[in-house]
Symmetry: C2
Subunit: 84 residues, 2 copies
């Protein structure tokens, strides 16, 4: 849970998740959406990976990333405990 909130606590990472919401993308394609270097994006992807918020699959020389909605469920449940 700590890793998840940590991962969500960055606008770039949240935007990456929004991008992946509509379409799986390669790391490079993700990077082109931001004015940030590829190594930095790679680092953000790593943090999202550690939080299990994204999954990836190697396709030749590309690495395709997808959002993992099952982890979102955990956050959802936590939030819901505050609704009365």
């Amino acid at each position: 849970m700590n890793d998840i909130f940590k991962a969500l606590n960055d606008p770039t990472r949240r935007e990456i998740l929004e991008l992946l919401k509509s379409k799986d993308l390669a790391a490079g394609e993700i990077a082109t959406h931001f004015n940030i270097s590829k190594p930095s994006i790679s680092h953000h992807l790593d943090i999202l990976k550690r939080a299990d918020l994204i999954t990836f699959e190697k396709k030749g020389q590309f690495i395709i990333y997808s959002v993992n909605t099952t982890v979102m469920e955990d956050v959802l449940q936590w939030i819901l405990t505050f609704k009365k």
Copy 2:
């Protein structure tokens, strides 16, 4: 939204919210639940306040804090956009 995720990205602050979920509490009462100095707790409360995740009311020399569930709704909606 940035302020909310920032506020949620700390185990102490999340625990403060959980405490307030069951009962409104004074700043000092909140502080006794942690092995952290009162000024540090005050700082955490300030961050939660800025995110509008808690509200407060002055009662004599005490300041009573409550969780604000309406802001939780915003996070909830954001998370829900990932559920298909």
